[in-house]
Chain length 328, copies 2
């Protein structure tokens, strides 16, 4: 709840307190206080400082297709900046056109997650970043081979040396993961209409969306979709239509983890369709109805579905700046 | 030779005439006059006006992977702006990881070409643009299907209507090709060091590069690599190591066209490796030596190879501006 106390947020709250609120406003205030605006940066780990040199290197590596076996797949292929930093297809397509088991999560705001991948098999972006390079159905390149490939380019020798000064052989897996993690921590989407609403701009979202916020709280969606990134980073069992994926169980081997998946962020959910771990759900309305049934045991009426959907649309933030790098 | 008379070029020439040239300068002037700086725009066809609306639509379509069968391959996959608008692998990788027969040509300055593709099977970008969408080894999607896919998105309905006003059903193959062609005509790289040299900045390139320019002329490279884009857009027979590609013959069926390929541009050649129709040549030095042997019957010495290579490096221009679009 640290971010709840951010100066910007308090300024917004102060504005409100100063105004002459009706009882209805007071009621809404209680709902608003259940949410937190998205900060401009996620928590930064002490062991991987957020330097400009690492951002630049990570930006290059994110767009680098030659660390894939085919030479044409980069992180940006599936985490495509033109498509909400995801791919907008049900399940990821990787090496030789193979189709993976799961829907590609957006990397937007992924630094706010305490568990990476749908099954949480990595706790942080440093560990996450290396997985897709080696995965047979994604980039399909052994990490050693990827590092050898990078080391062939003088520009990468220079950029790794600048990002990791005073290291004898900086082109290694740890530094590769760190640079990609640092770059990904810049890919945040603050100032969504809902953030501006939380910060005191009462006209930033529609009445329908405000009703959706109320329904979101009253129906208990907020139990799991909470905090600035609207996820608890915890694992919950869900039976999504068409999915036989065992989820978290594959990581832990514990019976109770069968069909459990990490709660996905709802930030930018309107531009990161399709939905669910298998991407089988095309529309937000359908996704809201399914979550009501499966997670809350409720049949939402059309009005409620439309209101929650309107609320979810207010979570699309400002897209982050980045460079299309000039690769060597 | 129209562009030779551009005001900018004449201004450069006038500067020179005004200066107190030595005889050596006069000699160099004769070499310089064999070349033409790259204009900011290529010739624009009367039947496809260069409007902002078409540029915007074409930019979206260029980055649109959902007009491929897999949903992840766009024009920008092989014509990658991070890689000199090409792919820097020997032969293009497309649908399901299939490897094509030929090296991906850069789209940079492709509006200056009078024949598109290595075999010139299309005369202009309007025709070229549609080929890779349908090609089995590239995007592998029938054009009708691609158009249906685009028509599903309201944003494309709007953008096609804006680009082609007063048309009843503007989402059609002709307009798709036109928008992509218009966008590609913005992808030009003027103001390379060699252009600045041609325009009067005598220090814009090194003495070694100037010697390379002389060798390029004296050895006859300029016979085919001429004009502002350093290509005659004509077809010449070449036996490249490792290639059995019949080239232009596949288009015309004429015996004399066997192994003929369109002269590639030398603009940005330093950043569009590897070389030759099969991409089997990795370095510029090697490419220069092969061209000397195969096309000119000459064995260049190391000094000449290095000088011509230094000259070719001066042909890397300013990379064009473009947007990573927010796709629907």
């Amino acid at each position: 709840m640290q971010l709840f106390k951010s100066p910007v947020y308090l300024a917004g709250a102060a504005l409100l307190i100063a105004s002459n609120m009706t009882l209805a406003d007071d009621d809404m205030e209680n709902y608003r206080l259940r949410f937190e605006p998205l900060p401009h940066l996620p928590p930064l780990p002490a062991e991987n400082s957020q330097t400009d040199e690492k951002v630049e290197l990570g930006n290059m590596l994110f767009f680098e297709p030659r660390i894939s076996a085919s030479g044409v797949i980069s992180c940006a292929t599936c985490h495509n900046p033109a498509l909400g930093w995801s791919d907008r297809i049900p399940r990821a397509v990787g090496h030789n056109g193979q189709i993976g088991e799961r829907n590609t999560p957006t990397v937007l705001n992924s630094g706010f997650l305490n568990a990476q991948f749908w099954d949480g098999r990595e706790p942080d972006l440093e560990g996450q970043a290396l997985g897709p390079i080696e995965a047979d159905v994604e980039m399909a390149m052994q990490l050693d081979h990827a590092l050898e490939r990078l080391a062939e380019f003088e520009l990468y020798q220079d950029k790794f040396a600048e990002a990791y000064p005073n290291q004898e052989d900086p082109i290694n897996a740890e530094n590769l993961g760190k640079a990609l993690a640092v770059f990904q921590r810049t890919l945040n989407t603050p100032n969504a209409p809902f953030d501006r609403y939380l910060q005191g701009d009462m006209d930033a979202i529609s009445e329908q969306a405000k009703n959706g916020m109320v329904a979101f709280v009253d129906n208990g969606c907020i139990a799991c979709h909470r905090g600035p990134n609207l996820t608890d980073s915890q694992f919950h069992a869900i039976q999504v239509p068409g999915s036989t994926d065992l989820g978290r169980y594959i990581v832990t081997g514990e019976e109770g983890d069968k069909y459990r998946f990490r709660t996905p962020t709802l930030r930018n959910v309107a531009v990161t369709y399709p939905y669910m771990n298998n991407g089988a759900t095309q529309t937000l309305e359908e996704a809201v109805a399914i979550m009501g049934q499966e997670m809350l045991g409720r049949e939402f009426d059309t009005t409620t579905i439309d209101e929650i959907t309107a609320f979810l649309h207010t979570l699309t933030g400002e897209m982050p700046e980045f460079d299309v790098p000039a690769l060597p």
